[in-house]
Subunit: 326 residues, 2 copies
């Protein structure tokens, strides 16, 4: 059975892809077996991560980019992990028609993944889903996530190219960039650029980027990727061609500089550790749910008789010990 699903997936069958993503989303053993099987066929897709606060128009932008990529003859996969995204809500909000046009195109596969409580679990499933899209022959994979700053293990870090989408009024994000609490992305998009304050914002961002370069040597600055700022109006398809060019340039840059392989090596390292950690935590929580002593320990902590760290130590000792017949 798995073998058949894998073969269909590798042949680009959409229904097989949809089924496969559901399996990893449900944490089904068949899903993991499938990823194991198709993994040697991954690594071909160009993965673009789109992050930015809610309401800036990431989905509309991805919709416009999808159109452009389809016109260039490329197949597209979209993975949305933004709970506030129109994709996530079945394209019922916002520009329903634009997005649903893509839902009918066999060259486009759109999938949203709900935020199922634990970020670790979702992030893990999303990484597997991205591998499935890649193996199914999607040439471009667009991952959409809501990022208002500092999510720790974020799917977005696993993209080849990271695009930060802002709009005039995104003052908090600019401050976060300025303060260094948000990392500088590969490409910055100012969407809704028909707003009168757009150019002020572009200048502010230029200032932040220039400041970041002050710490670098002249040679480093010269050889380094220069983060472009692209103004778009996604709802009117304006600026999309320029954005496509910048994305292509970034891809060419990381390929030429050998950075793509290095990025992917680091990302895969982190992915292995993240999966291992998430599983350890899940295992611990599973064991605790049925553990009467855990409830006692918690009560002692709440009554200030035992401190949290000592309770954690005892928990870890219990979890490490083989189940005894007590």
């Amino acid at each position: 059975m798995e073998s058949t699903l894998a073969q269909r997936l590798l042949a680009g069958d959409r229904r097989a892809l949809a089924r496969a993503i559901s399996l990893v989303e449900d944490d089904h053993p068949d899903g993991w077996a499938l990823v194991r099987e198709i993994y040697p066929h991954t690594g071909k897709a160009a993965v673009f991560g789109f992050t930015g606060p809610p309401g800036v128009g990431k989905s509309t932008l991805i919709g416009a980019l999808t159109k452009a990529r389809r016109e260039a003859g490329r197949t597209v996969g979209v993975l949305s992990i933004d709970p506030s995204s129109p994709f996530t809500q079945g394209a019922l909000l916002g520009d329903r028609i634009r997005l649903s046009a893509h839902f009918l195109d066999p060259g486009v596969f759109i999938r949203s993944m709900a935020n199922r409580g634990a970020l670790g679990g979702l992030s893990e499933a999303a990484l597997q889903a991205a591998l499935l899209l890649d193996a199914s022959g999607r040439e471009d994979v667009f991952v959409e996530t809501v990022g208002v700053g500092q999510a720790e293990i974020d799917i977005i870090d696993h993209a080849d190219t990271i695009v930060l989408v802002l709009m005039p009024g995104s003052g908090d994000s600019i401050q976060a960039l300025k303060a260094g609490v948000m990392e500088i992305p590969d490409v910055i998009v100012i969407n809704k650029a028909d707003h009168p304050l757009t150019d002020t914002m572009v200048r502010e961002i230029r200032g932040v980027l220039a400041l970041a370069n002050l710490d670098r040597s002249e040679e480093e600055v010269r050889s380094r990727w220069r983060v472009p700022i692209v103004k778009t109006e996604a709802t009117h398809n304006r600026g999309i061609d320029e954005l496509v060019e910048r994305l292509d340039e970034h891809r060419a840059h990381i390929l030429a500089a050998g950075q793509l392989a290095e990025r992917r090596r680091r990302n895969l390292h982190n992915e292995v550790l993240a999966i291992a950690t998430a599983r350890m935590r899940r295992r611990l929580e599973g064991e605790l749910a049925e553990d009467a002593r855990f409830q006692e320990l918690l009560l002692e902590v709440v009554e200030r008789r035992l401190d949290p760290a000592s309770a954690a130590t005892e928990l870890l000792e219990r979890a490490a010990a083989p189940a005894s017949g007590e």
Copy 2:
């Protein structure tokens, strides 16, 4: 030795407190032993968490609140975990004089903790530091953290009262509140309220809060805490009295409704789990650093011969197995 340090800490000795926080920050065993010893004396302080994007003036606001609390005869502890904060930078930036006045007052203890890479590790140390401040007799503890949205296990969740600080121009945060990707805090402050767009912003936030109430029954809305929006100009000490009142009201509300005990129970539960998880991860990373097979596994993953999840499975099996003499 520990016993003496604990006694001095419990007696309110500032140097003992500073030394104790350094011990937990350095992950020193004496630090953990100390927290174990003083833990029965904690739970008395009122803990207020301040979150919000960089640049909105959280530190100045906490400075003004500290002044107000000192005038009311209360002792204050400030814990800053915001890498962009003037506290963190030794009050060298911004309103240097205002903050350094507090540095000289024996009734005020200010400590910043650097963001040492792993958020888990810092968060763990910060929680212990808050316990130390509490045990040392600080009546009010103000915790400052940068939050632009969705940090997962955040020290701020462990406060009794959560204050979100914004300013006119904090469009991203408003969008995040609106989209439900940022949780609604207990108190909202609009600092720098001399800006002409302040009232527009207050109206927007009122709209978001009203929308959140739509999902609730009439009875629930009536018995529920009504999130106040307080306009301040912290640099001119304006609005601080009102903010103090609202903070006191929130404290009275959660005490009367039995919510404080419930919040603390839940927070301590999460704290125990977070410490246990962070330790598991650290232990795993420590084991891997010296493990030749881990490097081989990673290479297999990078070369697409072994998928990340299978590599994680093998790692966990190796970590669980007792060290063999292979």
